[in-house]
């Protein structure tokens, strides 16, 4: 206990001394999230300063082992660090697919050489990763992917096309599912490979979204050489890694549901639309819908807390964990839909002096993708029905 107190005192002092004032402001937009990479995009120069200082201590990924550049903190210490960051309103210094997706997969399935090569640059925000999973004909049915990797002795030659690759045009490396064998069932013969997006034969084409931005790409591979040392795990056994990584992705996406500003929707509504003498939101129907949303959010947060506590107590992940992605993203969509009701006309503004670049509208449109990316809500429900409830196929 006293160790933890010492850690808290030290962490507090260090954060006070090192976190720039400008990084103690809430994240307002996607541009405020620092992703690192060879050509980092910054909405403020302090983003890189803050990331570099945190990375020095491994605190961009506090729980990863020190050997790979991480902070080497145990769960309790990491929690203290989060609390201390929250106390001064410090932003996460770095947020990336490397941290949330590839890292955990490499820690579990990568060999020592791969861990040493790839994890430290992720911690330091030097290499930005993108995810090459989906293809035009392999979305929900991911295992039917067709991108081919041909064995050429010490390397593969990769040909095919990926789609919806988020930030492929900004990423430095890709973790990619390819087919190394066509003969068995569709889940076999898939391999998990890593390669540099600067390799000859890789091209990307941005896809514009309904929210106006273009974080997605079509990604084309034309005779791309990939060294075999960049095959993670066994050849043809990539599906296991893909699935493991998807659970991390889904966890990350479902946590969007818990996001939100300091003020609850109900409080924002009261400020915007007024209350009656007894403090009730004047818009009666909206009041009950917001209350329902808030109560589901509370219950969702409690479920997260319960599952985490059970895991800590060694009880293993209960069936509740399978519903996180589904429930969290549906909640987040409800929240964004309600924001339109709460903010009214100004929420639907897009451009013009009165509108702040249509922030609310863009976030609302983006939220529609939460129940599609990383496996759609329907796919999550199918998984629950089959694997948890044991219901048969039609």
């Amino acid at each position: 206990m006293s160790d933890l107190n010492t850690f808290r005192t030290e962490a507090r002092a260090w954060l006070e001394a090192n976190c720039p004032e400008s990084m103690r402001v809430p994240i307002r937009s996607f541009e405020d999230i620092y992703n690192g990479g060879r050509n980092p995009e910054m909405s403020h120069p302090d983003q890189k300063v803050w990331c570099d200082r945190m990375a020095e201590r491994g605190w961009t990924v506090p729980e990863w082992p020190k050997a790979y550049g991480g902070g080497g903190l145990n769960k309790e210490e990491a929690k203290v660090l989060r609390e201390e960051m929250a106390r001064i309103g410090a932003r996460p210094a770095l947020d990336s697919f490397g941290i949330s997706m590839l890292g955990p997969a490499l820690l579990k399935f990568g060999n020592e050489e791969q861990k040493l090569e790839h994890l430290p640059p992720i911690v330091r925000g030097e290499i930005r990763w993108c995810q090459g999973y989906s293809e035009p004909n392999a979305g929900s049915d991911l295992a039917s992917l067709a991108t081919r990797a041909e064995d050429k002795g010490d390397h593969y030659i990769v040909n095919g096309q990926k789609i919806w690759t988020s930030y492929a045009n900004k990423a430095d490396w890709i973790f990619c599912l390819v087919r190394t064998d066509n003969t068995g069932s569709k889940h076999e013969g898939i391999s998990f490979v890593l390669f540099d997006m600067a390799t000859p034969g890789v091209t990307t084409r941005p896809i514009k979204l309904i929210s106006g931005s273009s974080p997605f790409c079509e990604t084309f591979f034309d005779d791309v050489p990939v060294l075999k040392k960049n095959l993670v795990g066994e050849e043809g056994k990539g599906w296991t890694i893909a699935k493991y990584l998807l659970t991390h992705e889904r966890e990350m996406i479902s946590s969007f549901g818990a996001a939100g500003g300091k003020k609850t929707l109900g409080q924002r509504a009261a400020e915007n639309m007024g209350t009656d003498a007894s403090g009730r939101l004047r818009a009666g129907t909206l009041r009950s819908v917001i209350a329902q949303y808030q109560l589901d959010t509370l219950a969702f947060a409690a479920t997260m807390e319960k599952v985490t506590a059970e895991a800590k107590a060694g009880q293993g992940l209960g069936p509740a964990s399978s519903i996180f992605k589904y429930y969290g993203t549906e909640l987040n969509k409800r929240r964004n839909e309600l924001l339109l009701s709460v903010e009214g006309e100004s929420a639907l503004g897009w451009s013009g002096e009165e509108y702040n670049e249509g922030e609310i509208a863009r976030a609302w449109l983006r939220s529609k993708g939460n129940s599609i990316e990383g496996g759609t809500s329907e796919v999550q429900l199918n998984i629950v029905a089959k694997r948890v409830l044991g219901l048969p196929d039609a």
Partner: protein
């Protein structure tokens, strides 16, 4: 009147559908979005719309219209919703002309309605002040000045504000609602585009008006304003119906085509039942919109019904467009596919003159609870 279209109405609907899908369709909308004309709308298209008599379809013959009725107007608006047609039809024909017909003075009707019917002017309704439409919270902004009025107010979400030649401005003073016809040279406009790429500005009014600008305060305060707004909301619901049915049809089309797991996705029961349920809801929407339109033409009391119609269409248009994106999967999120246009238009239409929650509440109040 029965809830079935007569032959003439079917012809009108079909010819509107034919014309709009040819010339003012979703691709035309996309072009408009990417390259909005400085006039704010396509004048040639507006000319054709006027030539077909649509602008005067609900205006009585004594004021230069066809006197055909509100149902006809609704049928046209529904087709415009299906095609995402861009024109000042809602602002001028659905809103301003309805307002003038309901609470304009005879002189104002004589002056403006024939011009609207002929497509010679663009007009709009300036009523909302805060971020939400709320008739009860209009601020007091009118004062007598000699034999005229001083009017000082900012109005928001005024459709086509930048293109309008004149505005019907609804304000409030100690005695109740007041309305005026104010010309464009008497106001300043801050233009902006909404999420659906259509323009909707803030109109700043700080001007003196002559007595002739004043609209008929008696009819305004004796149910005329509410009736006019009810009619407009029924019209907006007709457009929401078009938007929703088209979003639904695009989606069902996709369910028939897209293959995953070696089958068309439309063969998955999880999607089938939702599509079928939505189909049922849309059938209800068709009926209730037609009921609203017919009630206007029959001169029936609209209180209760209009808000019911708007609330139902607000709710189902949300469902239809949200399901549209979800069932399209990733491509539903892309700008290249048209489904995204429908979700954007649906929400702006919903929020014009009161959203789902506003109308559901009002429906309850009008029902006595």
């Amino acid at each position: 009147m029965t809830l079935v279209l007569n032959e003439e109405e079917i012809m009108l609907r079909d010819s509107a559908a034919g014309f709009l899908t040819e010339t003012a369709n979703v691709e035309a909308f996309r072009k408009h979005r990417d390259n909005p004309p400085t006039a704010g709308f396509d004048k040639a298209l507006w000319g054709s719309i006027a030539e077909m008599g649509w602008c005067g379809i609900a205006i009585d013959e004594a004021h230069g219209g066809l006197g055909y009725g509100f149902t006809g107007l609704g049928l046209i608006i529904e087709q415009m919703g299906k095609n995402l047609t861009v024109s000042p039809f809602n602002s001028t024909v659905l809103m301003a002309s309805t307002a003038i017909a309901q609470f304009g003075t005879e002189a104002q009707k004589q002056e403006w309605l024939p011009k609207i019917a002929a497509g010679d002017v663009v007009m709009s309704l300036a009523i909302q002040e805060g971020s939400h439409f709320d008739l009860d919270s209009l601020s007091t902004s009118v004062s007598m000045q000699g034999d005229g009025f001083a009017l000082k107010v900012e109005k928001r979400q005024v459709l086509d504000a930048i293109s309008a030649d004149a505005f019907v401005v609804v304000a409030k003073d100690a005695s109740g609602y007041q309305a005026f016809i104010v010309t464009a040279d008497q106001v300043s406009v801050r233009n902006q585009s909404m999420v659906d790429a259509l323009s909707s500005g803030t109109v700043v009014i700080d001007t003196r008006l002559t007595a002739e600008a004043q609209m008929d305060a008696d009819s305004l305060n004796n149910g005329g304003l509410e009736r006019a707004l009810d009619m407009m909301n029924i019209g907006l619901a007709a457009e929401l119906l078009g938007v929703s049915t088209e979003a639904f049809e695009l989606t069902v089309g996709y369910l028939r085509e897209r293959k995953q797991f070696g089958k068309v996705i439309g063969s998955f029961q999880g999607l089938q039942h939702r599509a079928a349920d939505l189909f049922a809801e849309l059938e209800l929407c068709k009926a209730i919109v037609l009921k609203g339109l017919r009630a206007v033409d029959a001169g029936e009391d609209l209180s209760g019904l209009a808000s019911a119609v708007k609330a139902k269409l607000a709710q189902i248009s949300q469902r239809a467009t949200n399901e549209g994106i979800q069932m399209h999967g990733g491509i539903g999120m892309t700008d290249e596919y048209n489904i995204g246009f429908f979700i954007k238009r649906a929400r702006v239409l919903e929020h014009t003159l009161g959203d789902f929650h506003y109308h559901l509440d009002r429906y309850a109040v009008q029902g006595g609870f």
